[in-house]
């Protein structure tokens, strides 16, 4: 019997529908699905457009730019996050339309440094066998 190991941070596991997204982050691209019928961009990946129901979708590379739509500064540690509090959980409004959850890096977890609608850009960080899309203030070094 081995001792129970400390919980690890969640590592995403792709499904066939989301594989192109995770293939994208692996090569430094943030990819979105795009409806070829109504033009809507969307995340998370799925078989049909949530705006019009069409199943005619393709993948496009997002610009990787967005704005800070909302955030919380978490002093609670999620499983695997012990020792990394406080951390910033952010909702990012992407230029193409979708909003996504992510973390902010390259900026202190301090309300004085976090202004709603501040411009952000994507950056990538390894998590297990995946590259996670994170965001930093536009133009900032990570």
């Amino acid at each position: 019997m081995s001792a129970p190991s400390a919980p690890a941070k969640m590592v995403p596991v792709a499904t066939p529908a989301s594989q192109p997204f995770w293939d994208g982050t692996q090569v430094g691209e943030l990819r979105l699905q795009h409806c070829t019928d109504c033009g809507h961009h969307f995340l998370y990946p799925r078989l049909s457009c949530p705006s019009c129901g069409s199943r005619k979708t393709d993948w496009v590379r997002a610009a990787g730019r967005g704005r800070l739509y909302s955030f919380v500064i978490s002093h609670m540690a999620a499983p695997g996050w012990q020792g990394e509090t406080p951390y910033v959980i952010a909702v990012v409004q992407l230029e193409e339309g979708p909003r996504m959850l992510s973390n902010l890096v390259g900026v202190p977890a301090d309300p004085a440094a976090l202004v709603l609608d501040m411009p952000l850009e994507v950056t990538f960080q390894a998590r297990g066998d995946k590259m996670l899309p994170l965001f930093k203030p536009a133009g900032a070094a990570q």
Partner: protein, 188 residues
């Protein structure tokens, strides 16, 4: 059944709250059931409907000694029991049953008989939210609040934040930035 048929919540009760290391989640439901029946002046012999989220309503019915004509196990998070009340009213109106126990119990502090909350890394949550350390109501539910409060027409008095505290609550008032003596868990 008439659409004007009167359906009432005839009784309601809570278990004790706080750390209850001698009661499982199933026991908590049964304890709540007997307290609510006492409040209504009824017994288990009057009951022909059961609801329970997470824990199977079948197991709860067996435990209590009830053979339900109708049951509902809809499990959609913390609003499940409100949904159950509406479903129960609809079931009574449809003639499927007459008297329903809407039950819930959680052993959050003591973790007795608590089924694991499975978080699949393939789910939308597992791929696109949980990896960022958003994992519990305090650091998920305030995300929309931050944006909502930023709208100038929607300024809520700070006092409102403290009103959702029941008489048996054990955590006390919500931590706010103007009570720095308390340990901050999430901001906002």
């Amino acid at each position: 059944m008439s659409a004007r048929m009167k359906i009432a919540i005839a009784g309601a009760a809570e278990t004790d709250l706080g750390a209850l290391p001698n009661l499982s989640e199933l026991d908590l439901r049964a304890d709540a059931a007997h307290r609510a029946l006492a409040d209504a002046g009824l017994t288990i012999r009057d009951v022909d409907g059961i609801t329970s989220a997470t824990e199977s309503p079948i197991d709860v019915a067996h435990y209590l000694g009830i053979t339900p004509n109708w049951y509902d196990g809809t499990s959609v998070g913390g609003c499940s029991f409100l949904v159950h009340v509406r479903h129960a009213a609809a079931a009574i109106r449809a003639g499927l049953c007459h008297t329903v126990l809407v039950l819930h119990g959680e052993s959050g502090r003591s973790q007795v008989g608590r089924p694991p909350r499975v978080r699949m890394p393939t789910s939308p949550l597992g791929q696109f939210e949980l990896p960022y350390g958003a994992f519990a109501p305090p650091n998920m539910f305030t995300l929309p609040v931050m944006r909502f409060l930023a709208r100038p027409s929607k300024i809520w008095p700070r006092s409102w934040w403290r009103k959702a505290i029941g008489p048996k609550a054990i955590r006390g008032p919500v931590v706010t930035s103007d009570s720095p003596s308390r340990r901050c868990s999430v901001r906002p």
